[in-house]
């Protein structure tokens, strides 16, 4: 909790070798994300947003370079430590919600706490609190199939926060939602970022995200094109 930078990448690169050619999905990304920051990663389709999301989240290994979370080089972690990182330090939110379809909203939110070894009573209590906080207190026992897209994404956000992560990583969290529902989700994430001090990093092409972001990183062809802080954005607008 003392580090200035929750996430730091150093010459991060990911190449895919497709027969003769190389796809440089990421090519030398240097990025520092402050604790409590709300950062958006913008870029056209294929620019490498999801790849960057996967690297920072410890879901894939880079070809070159490093990712530090709380100053720990995550390429040095073994499978067990990586699972612990995913469980305790990072909460993930996806475009396609990715809830476990056979489990209720409550059970979905409790799942990360099972892995963290939180006792049952506490799990239930915390999960209900979180679902209340995202406005789904009356949908605890609904399965994902019985919820709207926006509601599913709220469950996913509650689940991402279950183990009080340092970072919430979101890959196009509003990509499958209509304008208003998307806006609600963005505001919810911003509120949680402010209230809980959790660092939020979202990959997006949603321009609505610009208004709430502290900084916007524009990437293209796997490289950082420019970085704007909110003041600059406000001036431009």
């Amino acid at each position: 909790m003392r580090y200035e930078y929750t996430v730091e990448t150093e010459d991060l690169a990911k190449y895919y070798y497709m027969g003769k050619y190389v796809v440089k999905a990421l090519d030398g990304i240097n990025l520092r994300v402050r604790r409590g920051e709300y950062l958006s990663i913008m870029g056209p389709s294929g620019s490498g947003k999801t790849t960057l999301f996967n690297m920072i989240g410890g879901l894939d290994r880079p070809t070159r370079g490093r990712v530090y979370i709380d100053e720990v080089d995550i390429s040095k972690l073994d499978a067990y430590e990586l699972a612990w990182l995913r469980c305790r330090k990072i909460g993930y939110v996806f475009q396609t919600f990715n809830l476990i379809p056979v489990l209720t909203a409550l059970e979905n939110v409790m799942l990360p706490m099972i892995f963290a070894g939180v006792p049952r009573e506490q799990r239930i209590k915390k999960a209900i609190e979180l679902l209340n906080a995202v406005g789904l207190g009356d949908r605890l026992h609904h399965k994902p199939g019985e919820l709207s897209g926006g509601q599913q994404q709220r469950v996913a956000i509650a689940r991402a926060l279950a183990n009080d992560p340092a970072i919430v990583l979101a890959d196009e969290p509003t990509g499958n939602l209509d304008l208003n529902t998307g806006l609600e989700i963005i505001n919810l994430m911003r509120t949680l970022n402010k209230e809980k001090g959790v660092t939020v990093i979202t990959a997006t092409h949603d321009l609505k995200m610009i208004d709430v972001s502290d900084r916007i990183v524009y990437i293209r062809d796997g490289k950082i094109e420019r970085i704007e802080t909110r003041a600059e954005v406000a001036v431009e607008a």
Binding site: R2, N54, A83, F94
Partner: protein
């Protein structure tokens, strides 16, 4: 546990009771898929039981005979076919759940937890399939004995419970029940090992790219 930087890497837990609960939910909610897998087990186990019990009824009726070597061969082949059916069905089940496996892993699941989930599911399917196959096999044997062999009820009952002396001892119905469940769970587990392993090894980034 271990220390990395300033992190205290704690234990990752996944109680067996929770795993069983999730596997049961999966079977209930994806009943068609589970039923297709179980159908392979049912057929193999039903064949095994009918073969054994028909032989026992024949013995009671004619006072001789047992199971020929070629029948064991048939049994072996049928159980092998059953195993291939389960593997095929489980491979599809795993493929259908790529995204879900990726999600489990982002929440903290280790490879062994994913393996555990699929193997518990396989055991439960084996158990259910074994029980249904056992009943179906015995029903088939009774119909065979009563209708085609004209065996009276007491002879069928003797075949079931082994009360009359026969040339070659064959398993009784209660023994067949135990055998059926053991064989069913064993085959189901063995046949699911590869699909479950394949699912467990999946990296989240790969799992999420699939289909999308």
């Amino acid at each position: 546990m271990s220390r990395v930087g300033t992190w205290e890497i704690g234990e990752i837990k996944f109680p067996f009771s929770e795993a069983v609960r999730f596997s049961l939910e999966n079977i209930k909610k994806r009943f068609t898929r589970a039923a297709i897998t179980a159908a392979s087990v049912v057929l193999g186990i039903a064949f095994m039981n009918s073969l054994m019990m028909m032989a026992a009824i024949n013995q009671q009726v004619s006072g001789m005979g047992g199971i020929e070597l070629y029948q064991y061969w048939l049994l072996f082949i049928s159980l092998l076919v059953c195993a291939v059916g389960i593997t095929n069905s489980m491979l599809i089940a795993v493929t259908e759940r790529y995204k879900e496996i990726g999600t489990w892993k982002t929440l903290g699941a280790l490879d062994k937890h994913v393996l555990e989930l699929f193997l518990i599911e396989a055991s439960l399917i084996g158990l259910i399939g074994g029980l249904v196959g056992y009943i179906a096999g015995l029903v088939a044997a009774v119909i065979y004995g009563a209708v085609f062999q004209g065996a009276p009820m007491d002879k069928i009952s003797s075949a079931f419970f082994g009360t009359k002396m026969v040339p070659l001892p064959l398993p009784t119905a209660p023994a067949l029940l135990v055998l059926s469940l053991v064989v069913a769970v064993g085959i189901s587990l063995a046949a699911s090992l590869y699909p479950a392993y394949k699912g467990a090894k999946l990296e989240p980034a790969v799992a999420f790219r699939f289909e999308v």
